[in-house]
Amino acid sequence: DQQVKQNSPSLSVQEGRISILNCDYTNSMFDYFLWYKKYPAEGPTFLISISSIKDKNEDGRFTVFLNKSAKHLSLHIVPSQPGDSAVYFCAASVLNQGAQKLVFGQGTRLTINP
């Protein structure tokens, strides 16, 4: 029972163009969503988040969009740079017992081509 799904295992984008990574979830109790980035042999690092009361959050080149009715979120990276090549994980959470337990998607490997 995969509560958070990233249906694209990989994505290849040309440098300078927009990268769009997608994520779907099934549990309507989730109220906070995050994107993490992971390089090989390293742990995931936090990128950007969005609360369920918002539909957009922007931080520099990164924007996350949330469509609650469709239970869908996306991460836009503009412009894409070679250093953005990594695996991106979408995660959803609900606050429980004082902390948020993250439920991750399977990840999307993004490759930025020069």
Binding site: A41, G43, A91, G98, L102
Partner: protein, 113 residues
Amino acid sequence: GAGVSQSPRYKVAKRGQDVALRCDPISGHVSLFWYQQALGQGPEFLTYFQNEAQLDKSGLPSDRFFAERPEGSVSTLKIQRTQQEDSAVYLCASLRGGRETQYFGPGTRLLVL
């Protein structure tokens, strides 16, 4: 230290062997999580501590898995009688609490032969 550290970084175990994986969280971080990441998958929740109290262990896959954080800082994840399906990367994350950012360690890659 500056970030979350985990040791060992790599562990090869024979099936049936016991292993212990260590996590040193960021100083002052109250909350600590353990996740298991199988090959090609996202991290999956195992267990959660607030200080020394283990508040949620619903993700531990079997009673062979045991975690502790006796002094509310360093945590150890112990796997008894390891099986091949235990092969995965085990990630530790710490945070100050609530909706604060979870900071992940580099993980311990466990291979059970």
